[in-house]
Symmetry: C2
Subunit: 206 residues, 2 copies
DNA sequence: TTGTGGGATGACCGCGTGGTCATTTTGTTA
DNA sequence: TAACAAAATGACCACGCGGTCATCCCACAA
């Protein structure tokens, strides 16, 4: 029992540290330019070692992406499913997303890049799942809006497209923050997004 | 004179047809997976021929991107700089963008992919210009918002971030349209975007 | 018809990659 | 300490890419 779990722990640690290294390298060089050798160097192991834990390069990248993205989505969903008004929940989820990307360095590159799968149609099978994760994100957001529409909190319109607009608009600002050396307080950007989205920018002439 | 222009015409035609082929292949396979041979096959010429007109693969992709993007931005700027209210100008520019991406098939892949340059820092020099084109787009939009703020048409806030939010939110919906087999009328999506952006989604309880 | 010049060709090359596996190192048990 | 199993290594291979260039082709002038 103890021995068994020990092996598992070591194995899990290795896998985790390889994925961490993968994240760091991809964040620095981009997915296309990242070689298996780069990752091995970053992790301080030989290239061959990587193939003891992952079938091939694709699996390494895929697993790395999946574990990171599910951490992100977990934190966001938690906020969206909490008690409170739509505004409160949106604010909290935005704060968490911003926090996550700040901690995870330039993980957004991986995040963005995976949304538009490349390669021949055969290769795209694998990436479909990751694309689906993004879509799931949007669908959940859309469900939230749908709910708010039924409660009469917000205007009736196409919830899915609304979710797309919100999610991508938000991403743009998060990406900008990641590139900036001294981004403004997270609250400022959250204010801007939520205010624009909920009440628009037009000044009402009454 | 005639001879000279004839050569030029032939040359220009070749360049154009190579760029067209490049667009088609990249739209189909993605930038990373597109080889020079693919493009040559698509254009119906030998691989070597491409190097008579373009220094290397990067130049081909870059030039292709630049000519397409400046066509797009030209049409959008025209709309944004026209006479009329902010709403009218935004609507017209959105219509044109949607129109453009419909005509240009899946050019958006190229458009999106170029925003996040990959490769080693040395290679990123080239792509900087293309990144700048995107930034220019945002800056112009921000200037428009700035102007509207001074006129008192819209609330005061960070114009640049507002432009980011708007542009990317819009992109998301355009991308969605491109993927859909039967997208709704362009006007519907324009309505959704403009209404959300100008007046928000919250129902005012007065 | 023949000669000529420049555009077009595709076999070829070097390189860097992902992936393999015989060998070495490490850790454990008797 | 010795014997053994498992994990790690990195030299090595095959492949496909971007890019080159000796050769070919053909429009057109003489």
């Amino acid at each position: 029992m103890t021995a068994r779990s020990k092996e598992e722990v070591v194995q899990e640690y290795r896998i985790q540290s390889l994925q961490d290294a993968t994240m760091r390298v991809i964040a620095r060089k981009g997915i296309g330019a990242t070689t298996v050798q780069d990752i091995a160097d970053e992790a301080g192991v030989a290239k061959g070692t990587i193939y003891l834990y992952f079938r091939d390069r694709d699996e390494l990248v895929e697993k790395t992406f999946e574990s990171a993205i599910s951490r992100l989505h977990g934190r966001i969903d938690e906020a969206l499913e909490a008690e409170g008004s739509l505004e409160q929940r949106l604010r909290e989820s935005l704060l968490r997303a911003i926090e996550f990307f700040r901690e995870s360095g330039q993980f957004f590159r991986l995040y963005i890049a995976q949304r538009f799968p490349e390669g021949t149609p055969q290769q795209q099978r694998k990436q479909q799942r990751q694309c689906d994760q993004y879509r799931t994100r949007i669908v959940k957001l859309a469900a939230l809006f749908e709910e708010a529409m039924q409660k009469g909190e917000i205007r009736r319109t196409d919830a899915y497209r609304l979710a797309l607009f919100f999610a991508e608009g938000t991403n743009a600002i998060i990406v900008e923050r990641v590139m900036e050396e001294n981004p403004p307080p997270a609250e400022d950007d959250v204010d801007l997004i939520v205010a624009t989205f909920l009440d628009g920018i037009r000044i009402q002439r009454s």
